[in-house]
Symmetry: D2
């Protein structure tokens, strides 16, 4: 059975929220979180998004399935500072046969600090593009467990 | 005198090239440079782009003029690895009254690894948006010195 | 009243334990957590040690009191890996008029991975050495609240 | 032939000097280089120390020989800041059958900022301790080429 190129997603189950406390070594000499640090925050949020669906990303990697980042972007609206408690909202926004896309909103006490996007290709241990298998689709389409 | 909103740039002088050697602590467990690390590479390249035009970015910062990153993006085409010698081509692609935009191409031995973009707003020490002054425009419009 | 050069500490209250999950961007191309990353772990643990005693380190910094690191060391016994849940045991081991010392043991499922030590001097916003005041001593000598 | 446990080193050839420019994302909210960052500086200096003796560390790693860090320490005397040009003096101070030790002095314009030490064990791809072979000894005992 051929998988459709674009898999329908349920808006009610495709979003999770993850809290991250800003560490001192994530700040820079402007006194704020360095802009390059945010891609790391998005990664933490993706890993926890998966954990909330019953999967350790490390297990997929051990099975030779990696969600390589092929594109990433951030819009910086307001700065974060040391010890801030950030709330990262992660949404799987697109799911295809061999790729997917997450969008993110980072907030502090309800106010938007940053918006982000990452696009991922599924690759094997040799870096070759490969289709997501049924078990991966099941995880990606389910809500929090 | 009001500055025009979009300052014309000379394609022949707006590009510089900067070499960066990949450090071991910039790799991750996939054996490649972590995708989040590239925003740091772009920053190094911007700082050297300015130095080639006679300016230390630290001096602008000390004078209370910061080019805060308000947007950043990367497309990852091929991976970089430990000890690779990267060539980063930086081009000032847009210059406005209070903002500017750089585009980047990262290559290894001529092959494109990554394409990047950063958009910056000029802010003062209090984080308030402010116009680039004439001296800053002179630097940004000149070629390498 | 002159403070004694070496303040007695209560072994029962001077230790706290902090859990940290290893992030993907803390690993390196050897597949393990980069050795340089551990000083960041120790810092996280110190900040939480203080929070458990009712203090945000950021508040001390805002008041112009910084515990600058003047010496740090680590012994690496076993490697940590992506997604490991680390348990960091932090003990205030020495407290003097203007300096203090923490020791750390990082474990995973009870097994020691790393031992660490940091020595700190109390400095003001100008980087000048200054005595810890009574309020700081109270915090440092109390147990978890 | 059994290798002696402690190999004599020539003080005139065991030291090299490496220059490193401080990057903006290596600073923290105190306006100085974060203390945890220095272990990365020491690593850069070791890699260049080897390169000056004709060896890419990456090649040893590819051959399954890794100089794993088993101990590291730093004394912080003065702070470094963004864009500082640091001079790192690296000395191989001890060489044994399966381990070695480097000491470091980081200076800015002749003044000492930091002193460092790292101790390394030679391990294979499985993390098992192994002897340095003759070719490695030759490299480690020679001066700059």
């Amino acid at each position: 059975m051929a998988l459709p190129s674009l898999v329908p997603l349920n808006a009610e189950t495709s979003t999770s929220s993850v809290a991250v406390r800003v560490r001192f070594d994530e700040t820079d000499a402007m006194g704020i979180v360095h802009h390059g640090r945010y891609l790391g925050f998005l990664e933490i949020a993706r890993v926890e998004w998966l954990r909330k669906r019953g999967i350790r990303y490390a297990d997929w990697a051990a099975m030779g399935r990696h969600l390589a980042v092929v594109e990433a972007s951030c819009k910086y609206v307001q700065s974060a500072r040391f010890d801030d408690l950030l709330e990262i909202e992660v949404t799987l926004s697109e799911l295809r046969a061999a790729s997917l896309r997450f969008v993110y909103v980072i907030r502090r006490e309800g106010f938007v600090l940053t918006e982000g996007m990452t696009r991922h290709a599924c690759i094997d241990d040799d870096g070759k593009l490969c289709r997501l298998d049924e078990a991966m689709f099941d995880v990606l389409k389910r809500g929090e467990v």
